[in-house]
């Protein structure tokens, strides 16, 4: 009696997982999202390992400025604020010696809802304020770009935004591109409407 029920329980759990398998789940337009548009981030001590020029404040402060840029959009309800407790991690790691990935955002979504995320900045790059410093990756551009991905926004491919949107893929040394364009705001509002 017990062994049959044990088998039934195991079969039930295994079957439940297969129902939600990628064979049945859809991707593309059914983009996972957070259950709430109000999210928090925290800064790991690994950010101290970033090569950061003196023109800018500490990476965490610059990340907070970038978070404010996405928070203050009139066309979206999304907010991202700093906290000291468990939240979306902002951290640094060796993503490969340059030229390599400058930064990376990760999101985890079991069953279609984002439950965790983090952003990793590459310790092998020199970051700074490209308006002032030479031979740096502009950190505000990078931070605004990655925090845009936390809303699960994809890269901006509008040709008119090529030189302005922080969300366009690709960045060169000394390039400054900190804008959140109307297309970016519209995309944000599409996922998290005001």
């Amino acid at each position: 009696m017990i062994s049959k029920q044990l088998l039934f329980a195991l079969a039930l759990v295994a079957s439940a997982s297969l129902i939600y398998s990628p064979v049945f789940a859809s991707h593309g337009d059914n983009t996972p999202s957070w259950t709430q548009a109000n999210q928090e981030f925290k800064c790991e001590s690994s950010l101290n390992n970033l090569q950061f020029t003196g023109s800018l404040s500490h990476p965490c402060i610059e990340i907070e400025n970038a978070a404010d840029a996405w928070t203050n959009l009139s066309g979206s309800s999304w907010t991202l604020t700093f906290t000291a407790s468990n939240a979306i991690n902002q951290k640094a790691a060796n993503l490969g010696s340059p030229p390599s990935t400058i930064a990376q955002a990760w999101l985890w979504a079991p069953f279609g809802t984002i439950v965790a995320a983090d952003v990793t900045y590459n310790t092998q790059y020199s970051f700074g304020d490209a308006n002032v410093d030479n031979n740096v990756m502009d950190f505000p551009t990078v931070a605004i770009h990655e925090l845009g991905h936390l809303l699960h926004l994809k890269h901006n491919e509008h040709s008119g935004d090529h030189n302005t949107s922080a969300l366009r893929d690709g960045l060169s040394f000394n390039e400054v591109r900190r804008g959140i364009t109307s297309n970016d705001e519209s995309a944000a509002g599409g996922i998290y409407p005001p």
């Binding site: 759990v13 398998s21 990760w106 279609g112 991905h149 690709g170 060169s172």
Partner: protein, 183 residues
């Protein structure tokens, strides 16, 4: 008493099965990653690369790595691609090489990414290097991420989507060899 024991067995079975399903990749999960790639031109691509080869993608293996994130063990998927070389442009003559990218599918874990991805049979030129202290470990990875590969089309043109450039593949290889000699 018997019913209580039965319920406890069922709960225990579920408690054991769910972690097993999770860490073996059978629990469905969507992972997304979005990267920012540097814009890298040919001169820097050649200089930074240890190996540049023209070849065909013939194999893919995806692996899951679980890492701690706020006391949750979350999966990262890495794909290891095999490229069989028809021509080694820089580095030791190679029959085949393997390199890693982020993303892929491991059992029921789907890791969607804007990292470079390939199809079996794709003809490519890839720029590869190693950095053992990085997330790539002892594996080759693409120099400049999305800047570090060109896809060859049926007309013999090599294209990089990130930089939106298309060049004749033989002219391109000649340019790369010339840059390598100069560096």
């Amino acid at each position: 008493m018997r019913k209580l024991a039965t319920v406890m067995v069922i709960i225990a079975a579920i408690a054991v099965t769910i972690p097993v399903l999770y860490f073996t990749g059978f629990m469905p999960m969507t992972v997304s990653s979005h990267s920012l790639s540097p814009i890298v031109e040919e001169e820097e691509l050649v200089e930074a690369s240890e190996l540049v080869i023209h070849g065909t993608i013939t194999d893919l293996r995806a692996d899951a790595v679980f890492e701690d994130n706020n006391n949750m063990l979350l999966p990262f998927i890495f794909s290891t691609w095999t490229v069989v070389a028809t021509d080694t442009i820089k580095g030791t003559d190679t029959e085949a090489a393997q390199f890693k990218t982020i993303g892929g599918t491991y059992r029921n874990i789907v890791h969607l990414t804007d990292h470079p991805s390939f199809e079996m049979g794709d003809e490519v030129i890839v720029f590869l290097k190693k950095d053992p202290d990085s997330i790539w470990g002892e594996s080759y990875y693409l120099v400049g991420s999305a800047s570090g590969f060109f896809r060859i089309d049926e007309n013999g043109n090599a294209r990089n989507e990130l930089r939106d450039i298309t060049v004749d593949v033989e002219e391109f290889k000649s340019t790369l060899r010339s840059l390598d000699r100069q560096s």
